[in-house]
Amino acid sequence: MSVVTDTPARSEENFRVTRSRRNVAWTGAGALIVVVVLALFPYIVYSGTTSLMVQAFIVVILASMWNLMAGYAGLVSVGQQAFVGLGAYFVLILAQHSLSPFGGLPVAAIGCGVAAVPLWWLISRLRSGYFAIATWVMATAIMLFIERFPSIGGGTGMSLPGLSGYDPTLLVAYTYWIGLAVTVLSLVTVYVMLRGRIGLVLTAVRDDEVAARSSGARVGLARMLVYVVAAVGCGAAGALLAISQLIVQPGAVFTVQWTAIMAFAVIIGGLGTIEGPIIGAIVYIILQRTLESYDAWYLIVLGLVAIGVALFARRGLWGLIDDRLNIRLFPVGYWLWTPESSSRPGPGRRGLRARRRGRHS
């Protein structure tokens, strides 16, 4: 075998494979502290801020779901608003049947997951670009279908029953805690999925689909699972939306703007990383608040920035931070440590990825 370097063969005990560059135990503790602090927010801050945080939670959930689909499974959906709307409407319908919206949220989320299965079957055979538009068509079709029923508000919408007995500040607090819980759950779910076998299958598919299939990976199943989980997440976000707005209107919950927000948050924050959606959501909220008085400007700016980032800084803001500081809060890759490189591991998988152009990561 011709060799590229001149080093002699090394014994195998000298190699180590780890999941992260540094000891990640402190990150777990840190995350726990962050969650505890966040849980205390309603006691510390005004309810206006708490409401804002709920909005942020919704965006984080949506963004991490969209990132799961696009960044890891390569499924670009511009129709996730279908599940946002379905989640909101499930909560509405359940509330009309006397189930408290807080209790209705998990049911609505699971309902969306169930609904996702036949929808997946319809569109899974389409290639990426046409898959994308098909999701949009489906979302629109679902909206049109729901608008036919005046009992849930028809075309104009309806307010959410079942929450009028609560004290307003307490309501916001409860909403906030539920939102925090769902957000944490979403992030943990995504993290666990990607660290496990699903993550391995998806990465293999992303690198070389034919090879992945022929080595036995259940590609179709993995993708469907991702789609369903994303539906559950988006449904939960939609339910949260309904609870926080106290009104469900088809034009507001089914608008493609949700996809725009999700997608742009992910791109700007960093596609294909778990930390990215969080950063992107923060950026979105900041942008929205700053440009609030300028109507549609924030979407224009968001769109332009997203295009710029997609073309020139593909790994987004988190990618830039990651490159400088070598941090992964949620490590899902593998690092190869060789004897010479005890302080800085070899390129491994991510290094290769960083070098490739023209791939969909």
Partner: protein, 291 residues
């Protein structure tokens, strides 16, 4: 008789939908780009036509003479810059960039113009007039004209692709980009030409729609993009005449839906789309099932 007229209207509307769809189909066939901004470009065409008509006072029917070449040039420029840059970075980035362009266009239109609907004023007689066959059957002038234009455009495209030098290059690049390079063909330039054609036809479609119905900043995605896509899928990917068939099926389905329940017009079309997707995903004209 209302049913017969509805079906006729549906068939003729199919021409408009085919006009929406052929640019989308072309861009996908040649460079594998699904242009999510496709519908919004039609709306831009309509707005530009509105502006041109307001400024120059030419009859609405002739606005295309200025708008179509303008949009074609825009298409070439956008393709050679933004879209090519996105293509070089992969399928995902391309989708995201076209989606981004779509959102920016819509938000921009909403911001700088209003959310109001407009229409391209054509003479009253053209919009409302129709041929009568017998005493009951009506063939609306405008729709008939649009249908004829659509057929002419499709014919023109077909001849261009099969007989002309550039058409041959476009087909060659669509088959094998690298091999075309080895023959001295700069595929980026060919992509630009294809995009120019796509933008030009979709601008024409936008003008046609503007005369037939009302348009607003969100019409691009609400109506045009989704209808175009539905027409392509129903008819069969990769076939120009398939998009006409798809458009006709979509139009007829919508009109039948409207007959049953006025509010269900658009939904009926999408239901047929979902049906085709479920039962025959390769479309009505394709011979083999796609894997």
């Amino acid at each position: 008789m209302a049913w017969v007229n509805a079906i006729i209207q549906g068939i003729l509307t199919g021409g408009l939908y085919a006009l929406f769809a052929c640019g989308l189909s072309l861009m996908f066939g040649v460079m594998k780009v699904v242009n999510l901004a496709h519908g919004d470009l039609a709306v831009i065409g309509a707005y530009v036509a509105l502006g041109v008509i307001t400024v120059t006072h030419i009859p609405a029917l002739w606005s295309f003479v200025i708008v179509v070449p303008l949009m074609a040039v825009l298409g070439y420029a956008l393709q050679r810059t933004l879209i090519q840059a996105a293509l070089d970075r992969g399928v995902l980035i391309t989708l995201l960039v076209t989606f981004g362009i779509s959102v920016v266009i819509e938000s921009g239109l909403l911001q700088f113009l209003s959310a109001d609907s407009h229409s391209l004023g054509v003479g009253e007689s053209i919009v409302t007039g129709s041929f009568s066959i017998g005493s009951q059957i009506q063939l609306p002038y405008l729709l008939l004209l649009i249908f004829v234009v659509a057929v002419v455009v499709l014919l023109g495209l077909q001849y261009f692709l099969s007989l002309s030098r550039y058409g041959r290059m476009i087909r060659a690049v669509a088959d094998d980009q690298e091999a075309a390079q080895l023959c001295g063909v700069d595929y980026r330039h060919v992509f630009g030409i294809a995009a120019a054609i796509a933008f030009g036809t979709v601008a024409l479609a936008g003008i046609a729609y503007g005369m037939y119905s009302q348009f607003s900043p969100t019409t691009g995605t609400d109506t045009i993009l989704l209808f175009a896509f539905a027409a392509v899928v129903i008819g069969g990917l990769g076939s120009l005449w398939g998009t006409l068939l798809g458009g006709i099926v979509l139009g007829v389905a919508q009109q039948i839906g409207a007959q049953i329940n006025q509010a269900d017009q658009v939904l009926a079309g999408y239901l047929v789309f979902l049906l085709v997707l479920a039962l025959r995903p390769q479309g009505l004209t394709a011979r083999r099932a796609q894997s």
